[in-house]
Amino acid sequence: MSKKVLLVDDAPILRLLLKDILEKNGYEVVAECSNGNEAVAKFKELRPDLVTLDIIMPEKTGLEALGEILKIDPNARIIMVTAIEDRESLMKALRSGANDYILKPFEEGRVISAVKGTLDE
């Protein structure tokens, strides 16, 4: 069975791009969210194998969502998605339990190896 992924990003086009990459590589995107609140709710509901989490989002940022998701499930597998400029937040995210990170703009190879590594494949 293919692994379930929850996509969280406020930009539809980036979600679409990531979705394309993931589906092409045999992952199932179970839901897409555009902010942190949605993300936490969807995580609770769907319990996906993996979450890709954008850091800069309206309403609730990726960093906040990261903390909440890890509270729900300390073993949640989470990959942060961010622009190269935002080192500070990325550092915080990794220190507080994110499994890996992908930089925007996405590079297919890097996305897949981050996903595989995080899912222990």
């Binding site: 990325l90 990794l94 220190r95 890996d100 990170y101 595989k116 590594g117 995080t118 222990d120």
Partner: protein, 901 residues
């Protein structure tokens, strides 16, 4: 030249003579320059030497072209000698210059003969040639390091650092006598190799020879994994001292006269003894250093090893394509942390710049309950990570070993060459450090430093100071507009009134106009004038509104504010660049303490603290000598012999403390010992005995003042002068050195317990905080650190004691001085009885009041040293230019207090 020259040939000779004379002129001029340069004990520039060589060479070439064999011959000899000078093979001495001048004169004769008779048969060049030949055949000793003048400075800095590191490490090795520590020996070898390498570059052959011999011995021990024997350690110390002394003579631009043969023989003899072969220079090759093993180097105790199922050492690389290397390292670190305790995590290069785009090598030591395969999987799951080695550390090993050499070799090739620096270990401050996990701090460090001539920095510092001053001037200028603004505002408000007056007139006239039905020409005329008036007023109003001076001044004010911020950041930035850690000075005391305690048969442990504390380079440089002296004193006079200590119930090993710390704008350096302490009474006796003071005088002193007697010139408390302390340099010299950098020395001593000298030194010499006061027509700056308090008095408070004005301050007598008397300037004598202000100064012991007319305020000022004319004026240390361009003299409280005594 016996044949007569043809017409055509004569043309050539004329040309040659014209050209040749120019070259001779150059030669003449350069020779004169060379002579004066040598007399001043400096060196000719390479350019000048080249110019001389070229001149001789050209003369030779043209002469050979037209067959002037005598000139050609002589020029050839001259060229040969200049070539040797140019290559640095012989030194240009006055003797050589004399010979060259002689040859030059011979040229002159030859030229003259050619000019007059087209014939040089009469001239004899033999004498000149012989003179030059005798120099060339002279066994001129090869110079050490002179040809490479421009590298010399760099060489010295580098080499001296290696020497200091070597010394430090060798002391550490000696302490753990009998133990073999591969890294230490490796490091010693590496340092010696570097010393050799850099000496080779500047052709310092004596050093290369010595270093080579020492390197061979170290490599033998390294290969045999044997501990260094005390005998060889002493030899190595002797060798490194010799190298240091040769370097010292270089730094004084002197030839080294040191005779190295004795040490070299002992070294070679020793080498033969341990290897059975001769010290053959061709056999030793520089092997690539293993910079890399240090990444996984930690010291662990058995307990720590036992608490984990596995202790793994991993070496891996982060691919250069990874964009955010720093972030990626955090990722790896976090992943490893999830698997156990990360005992050590180091990477090279360290730190990693944001823009670094090479490969990073990481060494990690992990204590974990997971299996090796597990960890391997974790590492492999991370993008861009390539494992180089992953090995368990067995619980019996105390030291985590390096990865297999084969792998190391592979990686070293990839890592760029890096300089590494051995940081002092804390083993002295923490005698039981082996119980702690202690990382050996010798991870390679990428040095990205630029060496800057300190004069350039001084200059920048000065300029930035000027900038601050200009800003203040600007701010003052702006305030000049304050009056204009007020005036302008007044004009604007008066204008308002005028305008409303005009309006009223106009309105009233309108009414009048309505009532007077007969509209005469006159009325019409007045009406039109009135209209013109209001129009004019309207225009004026617009003008006034447009030229809003106040607003513009505000804008200007803003900019000046920002200018001020930038100026002060520049200033503090430049100041930062001048700051270096005291470590460099402190570290060398390890060796000094070792030597002295050995000589005196005392056991002394040197404890160094706060070596990271930063201080102005100039001050750090000037600290070396006074500190050396004080440390020597501490060991020589302070710390007792082991027997005496045992009898006093103290540990046999004495402790000497060297500690630096920040205290506000000052740095405190403490030199302490746990020895017998200073006896104030004894000091007083000695002072009397030496005729420095009378008994009555000493009786009047407090204990503290008695302690301070040791700073008196000519005072030395040692009963017998030993070879170490009694070098003719007394504590008075130490005190002078410290006060010359605006520092203060304080002594605290308890008999039987020990003595602590505390040096309080300002962070920098360039800027001080002062209180600005005005006295008469002058403004003076009083260093704030010397100001105790400011009080108000009236004339009736002043009493005369022994004819000196004094006041009572909280029941204590306080002497008063008039600054104008101290520095001997004429001021108007202010005899008014109005309230005066007194600034109370202190030098740490005595207090003194100076009367001032008014206080201006506190300010940070840049010190401008006074020219020599003023250096003898007592009570003044320098001057500074204030914001308004006025000059303020900076008072020297210490000398003022001294003067008034």
């Amino acid at each position: 030249m016996s044949h007569a020259f043809g017409e055509e040939h004569q043309e050539y000779i004329r040309d040659f003579l014209i050209e040749g004379k120019e070259h001779l002129d150059v030669l003449n001029q350069k020779l004169l320059e060379a002579e004066s340069v040598i007399k001043n004990e400096s060196h000719m520039s390479e350019d000048d030497l080249n110019a001389m060589f070229r001149a001789a060479h050209t003369i030779k070439g043209s002469a050979s072209f037209i067959g002037l064999t005598k000139i050609e011959h002589l020029a050839h000899e001259m060229e040969a000698i200049l070539q040797l000078v140019r290559q640095g093979k012989i030194e240009l001495t006055l003797e050589i210059i004399d010979v060259l001048f002689f040859a030059f004169d011979t040229f002159g004769l030859l030229f003259q003969a050619l000019e007059e008779s087209n014939n040089d048969d009469e001239c004899d060049i033999e004498e000149s040639v012989q003179k030059i030949k005798s120099i060339l055949s002279n066994d001129v000793p090869p110079k050490e390091a002179s040809s490479s003048g421009k590298y010399l400075e760099e060489y010295l800095v580098e080499s001296n650092q290696y020497i200091a590191d070597f010394n430090e490490l060798l002391v550490a090795v000696e302490k753990k006598h009998g133990e073999y520590n591969a890294d230490q020996v490796n490091e010693l070898f590496r340092l010696m190799h570097n010393i050799k390498g850099s000496a080779w570059v500047v052709k310092a052959e004596k050093i290369t020879g010595l270093a080579h011999a020492m390197e061979n011995i170290l490599s033998t021990f390294r290969d045999k994994h044997q501990p260094l024997q005390p005998e060889i350690i002493t030899l190595l110390f002797d060798g490194i001292d010799m190298i240091a002394s040769i370097n010292k003579s270089f730094s004084e631009h002197a030839e080294s006269t040191a005779d190295i043969s004795g040490i070299l023989d002992s070294l070679n003899e020793y080498y033969e003894k341990i290897t059975g072969k001769q010290n053959d220079s061709k056999k030793v090759k520089a092997k690539p250093k293993n910079e890399f093993g240090s990444l996984v180097e930690v010291t662990l105790s058995d307990n720590e090893l036992e608490q984990y199922k596995n202790v793994l050492q991993a070496v891996f690389t982060v691919d250069k394509t990874v964009m955010l290397k720093n972030i990626h390292l955090i990722l790896v670190e976090e992943h490893l942390r999830k698997k156990g305790d990360l005992i050590s995590f180091k990477h090279s290069p360290d730190p990693i710049e944001d823009k670094f785009d090479g490969e990073v090598t990481v060494g990690a030591v992990l204590g974990t309950d997971h299996e090796k395969a597990d960890i391997k999987k974790t590492l492999n799951s991370i993008d861009g990570i390539k494992i180089v080695s992953l090995e368990p550390v067995s619980a019996t090993d105390k030291k985590v070993e390096k990865p297999k050499p084969v792998l190391v070799e592979e990686v070293t090739k990839k890592t760029p060459e890096q300089k590494s620096k051995v940081k002092p270990k804390n083993s002295i401050t923490e005698p039981d450090a082996s119980k702690n996990v202690q990382a050996v701090k010798n991870a390679p460090i990428e040095l990205s430093t630029i060496r800057i001539d300190s004069h350039k920095l001084d200059n920048l510092m000065n300029l930035s100071g000027e900038l601050v001053i200009v800003r203040a001037q600007l701010a003052r200028l702006i305030h000049m507009f304050d009056g204009d603004i007020a005036l302008f505002r007044q004009i604007a408000s008066e204008f308002e009134i005028t305008k409303s007056e005009a309006k009223t007139v106009q309105n009233e006239f309108k009414e009048l106009n309505v009532r007077t039905t007969d509209e005469t020409d006159k009325v019409r005329k007045v009406w039109s004038h009135l209209e013109k008036l209001t129009e004019g007023l309207g225009k004026l109003e617009a003008h006034i509104a447009k030229n809003d001076v106040a607003n513009k001044v505000h804008l200007l004010d803003d900019s000046i504010d920002s200018l001020g911020k930038i100026a002060s950041s520049i200033q503090s930035g430049i100041m930062q660049t001048r700051m270096i850690p005291v470590e460099g000075v402190f570290t060398r005391f390890k060796r000094i303490v070792r030597d002295i305690s050995k000589d005196l048969g005392k056991e002394v442990n040197l404890v160094i603290e706060g070596e990271d504390t930063e201080l102005d380079k100039k001050i750090v440089d000037s600290l070396g000598d006074p500190l050396t002296h004080m440390i020597r004193n501490a060991i020589d006079h302070g710390v007792e012999s082991p027997q005496a200590r045992a009898e006093a119930g103290k540990p046999e090993t004495g402790t000497v403390l060297l500690r630096a710390s920040h205290k506000g704008n000052n740095i405190c350096i403490e030199i302490g010992d746990d020895g017998k302490g200073l006896d104030p009474e004894k000091l007083a006796e000695v002072a009397v005995k030496k005729g420095l003071l009378t008994e009555e005088q000493t009786d009047a002193l407090s204990e503290k003042e008695k302690l301070n007697l040791i700073f008196l010139p000519g005072f030395s408390s040692a009963q017998t002068v030993t070879g170490i302390s009694g070098r003719g340099v007394g504590m008075d010299v130490v005190k002078n050195m410290i006060t010359s950098v605006n520092g203060v020395v304080d002594i605290n001593s308890t008999i039987g317990k020990g003595t602590v000298f505390t040096l309080k030194i300002p962070l920098t010499l360039a800027i001080i905080q002062v209180l600005l006061v005005s006295i008469g027509e002058e403004i003076y700056a009083v260093p704030l650190e010397a100001v105790l308090e400011i009080i108000k008095i009236s004339d009736t408070d002043i009493y005369a004691v022994d004819g000196n004005p004094t006041i009572k301050l909280r029941n204590q007598v306080l002497g008063l001085v008039n600054i104008e008397n101290v520095i001997n300037i004429k001021g108007k004598n202010d005899n008014s009885t109005k309230a005066k202000k007194v600034v109370v100064l202190t030098d740490g012991e005595t207090q003194l009041g100076i009367t001032v007319d008014s206080l201006i305020g506190e300010e940070e000022i840049v010190i401008k040293p006074l020219t020599e004319h003023f250096s003898r004026v007592k009570g003044i240390t320098g001057a500074s230019i204030l914001g308004d361009g006025q000059v303020a003299l900076i008072l020297d409280p210490i000398s003022i207090i001294k003067e008034s005594k």
